[in-house]
């Protein structure tokens, strides 16, 4: 009982054509594809073991060779002689995985709660929305700090802390959209045909409210990656042995005054390019999926 305005294949083709015409989003999508490739195949691409310390090759500038003239450190080495390029390639994994998984988690949680609140209304709706108001009235990164401090750092805790913080946005959008769809004819038709509530929600309403959620998710991944970098910078992210972009930036502080720019420059650029790509792609998605929406809507 799904209502689809255009057949899926036509939609994909339209999306591709629109993406091709708009140059920047295409570049962003390409960049993200490369980043995902790096995240998956990082270990095969990295020239060295990211954990391997080498006292002789400490603090090499980019493109410098080691003393034995055997290896060129393309992006230099850090204070422990670890290869920056290899750490950067491994770090892509943490940033992308945490960003995407946290948003999927928060999105699924928020969307389910929003669907239920909008569809059922009443007390449950009031309770969920009151909870949402409380959380919105509070900069969530502070909660994440508390949470990680108590539970300790680690990828899973990081994903939980960041993911749970995101549910409100999705719940509010899903709720509003569900209320708008709840009394439409196709829902009534499905009900008359004897479809259960769960079926109506998942097969009927969900496909019709999914585009604003996807748009938000794209921007959301960008901000979660930034938050992850901040938390790792504070030492609350992944353990220091695991290479992550935020962690690399935190370590770069000690070398900054000595002018060792490469330690801070490359991880920061990697974060910026990833976040920028998600933002540019989000802008395009918004224009493509829902031309009526304007900037301030999200």
């Amino acid at each position: 009982m799904t209502v689809q305005s255009t057949p899926p294949r036509g939609r994909w083709r339209r999306a591709w054509r629109s993406l091709w015409r708009a140059k920047w989003p295409l570049l962003a999508a390409g960049l993200l594809l490369v980043m995902s490739g790096v995240a998956v195949f990082g270990p095969f691409l990295a020239p060295r073991d990211p954990e391997r310390q080498d006292i002789i090759a400490r603090l090499k500038a980019p493109m410098q060779m080691d003393r034995r003239k055997q290896h060129t450190y393309v992006l230099g080495t850090d204070g422990l002689g670890r290869d920056v390029l290899s750490r950067l390639l491994y770090g892509a994994r943490i940033s992308l995985a945490v960003g995407v998984v946290a948003v999927v988690l928060g999105g699924a949680l928020g969307t389910s709660l929003g669907l239920l609140a909008g569809y059922l209304g009443g007390r449950l709706d009031d309770a969920i929305m009151a909870l949402a108001d409380i959380q919105l009235a509070f900069p969530f990164i502070l909660l994440a700090i508390m949470f990680l401090l108590v539970l300790g750092p680690g990828v899973l805790n990081l994903i939980l802390a960041l993911g749970v913080g995101q549910w409100v946005t999705y719940a509010r959008i899903a709720r509003g959209q569900t209320i708008a769809q709840r009394d439409k004819e196709y829902v009534e038709a499905a009900r008359a045909l004897g479809q259960g509530h769960l079926g109506i929600l998942l097969q009927g309403i969900l496909p019709n409210i999914v585009s604003p959620l996807i748009i938000v998710a794209s921007f959301n991944i960008a901000s979660v990656i930034l938050a992850e970098a901040s938390l790792s910078f504070l030492g609350l992210g992944v353990p220091p042995t695991v290479p992550s972009w935020g962690g690399m930036l935190a370590e770069s502080r000690e070398q900054l005054l000595a002018g060792r720019w490469w330690l801070a420059f490359f991880p920061g650029t990697a974060i910026m390019l990833t976040v920028l790509s998600f933002n540019v792609l989000g802008d395009w998605l918004r224009d493509f999926l829902d031309p009526r929406l304007t900037e301030g809507s999200y």
Binding site: A130, L131, D133, I134, A137, F138, P139, I141, L142, L143, I145, M146, F147, L149, V150, L151, G152, A222, L226, A229, S230, F233, L234, G235, L236, G246, L249, S252, R253, L256, L257, G259, W261, A264, F265, P267, G268, I271, M272, V275, L276, N279, V280, D283, T294, E295, G296
Partner: protein, 325 residues
């Protein structure tokens, strides 16, 4: 207006209760919180003694009640590093953070609003494109990285500005020593420049975007066309008719933005060694000083809720549709 005031105050109370409850619950998420307060080498007796002293051996509802009553008496627990009441330590550092945040907020408004207005008025032309490119970049740069780069280039390479430290400005002001504050001003400003730009950067970009879209929205309204057809000058149409209504979303954003800036200070203060609450939280995190972090988090929440209350009331005051709707 009174009804709105009452309702919003009640809502804020609920939010504060909610936030403190969540903070309390977080503390107990990992099981017995006593282990967060003792060193790793503590003996069983020491742990038991700490547990009894902090009341963690009592049933949860009783603990919560004690926690809530403590908060009402401004008792946020004792800092493990400083061995003094946590609230006092936080309040001591608060002027430094407020100073930085206010500077950043002014920067965001003073730069963000004109940029947004310019972009909207030149819609579709190169100026608009340029501003939007800047805004997209601005929203993608991790602020602490921007800080590190500024330190590297402006501070270390060019040696234009000091890279860390602070000359107090608000502290003497709060204690009534206006002359000292005034005398400190010229020395204080160089220290403020880089940290406040770093914190404000994201907000400048977001404000510019918001102002642009809000103004574009208003400019397509009928009353703007009417104003133009009355033969008013473009300046008058923009300033008196369009901007007046375009302010509304910006004011709503203001409170949220302030909270956002406040949460940005934790990392940025650390980068610039700015002696405020943010750096305090960073040190407290490193020393696992839970009461201190908790006190800072609750303090930030109180400030944030209070600000949003003020913004909402301002909004009701300015927009008759809210007041009478």
């Amino acid at each position: 207006m009174i009804a709105i005031l009452l309702r919003r105050c009640l809502q804020s109370m609920l939010v504060i209760i909610g936030v403190t409850t969540i903070t309390f619950a977080t503390l107990h998420l990992g099981g017995d919180p006593t282990y967060l307060y003792v060193s790793e080498r503590a003996t069983e007796e020491e742990i038991a003694a700490t547990r009894a002293k902090l009341g963690f051996d009592k049933p949860l509802p009783e603990q919560y009640l004690r926690f809530a009553v403590g908060l009402l008496h401004a008792d946020f627990g004792t800092s493990l590093i400083y061995r003094t009441p946590a609230l006092g330590v936080v309040l001591n550092r608060f002027p430094a953070t407020l100073e930085l945040t206010l500077c950043a907020l002014s920067l965001a408004l003073v730069l963000g609003i004109p940029l947004g207005v310019m972009a909207a008025l030149h819609r579709g032309r190169p100026l608009d494109g340029g501003i939007m490119v800047f805004a997209t970049f601005g929203q993608s740069v991790p602020n602490f990285w921007l800080g590190l780069m500024l330190i590297l280039i402006v501070g270390v390479k060019w040696r234009w500005l000091p890279i860390s430290g602070r000359v107090p400005l608000l502290d003497p002001l709060f204690s009534g020593e206006f002359a000292t504050a005034w005398a400190n001003l010229p020395r204080a400003l160089p220290y403020l420049v880089m940290p406040s730009i770093t914190i404000a950067f994201f907000s400048i970009a977001r404000t510019a975007r918001l102002v642009r879209s809000s103004l574009l929205d208003v400019l397509s309204q009928d009353y703007v066309r009417t104003a133009r057809s009355k033969g008013l000058t473009e300046w008058r149409v923009i300033v008196h008719h369009a901007l007046r209504n375009a302010w509304m979303p910006v004011i709503t954003m203001l409170g949220l933005e302030f909270g956002f800036l406040l949460s940005g200070v934790v990392v940025v203060e650390t980068v610039f060694s700015w002696p405020g609450v943010g750096r305090l939280v960073f040190n407290a995190i490193n020393h696992r000083d839970i009461p201190l972090v908790q006190a800072a988090v609750i303090m930030f929440a109180l400030v944030f809720v209070g600000l949003n209350l003020i913004v909402d009331l301002l909004y009701a005051r300015l927009d008759p549709r809210v007041r009478f709707g």
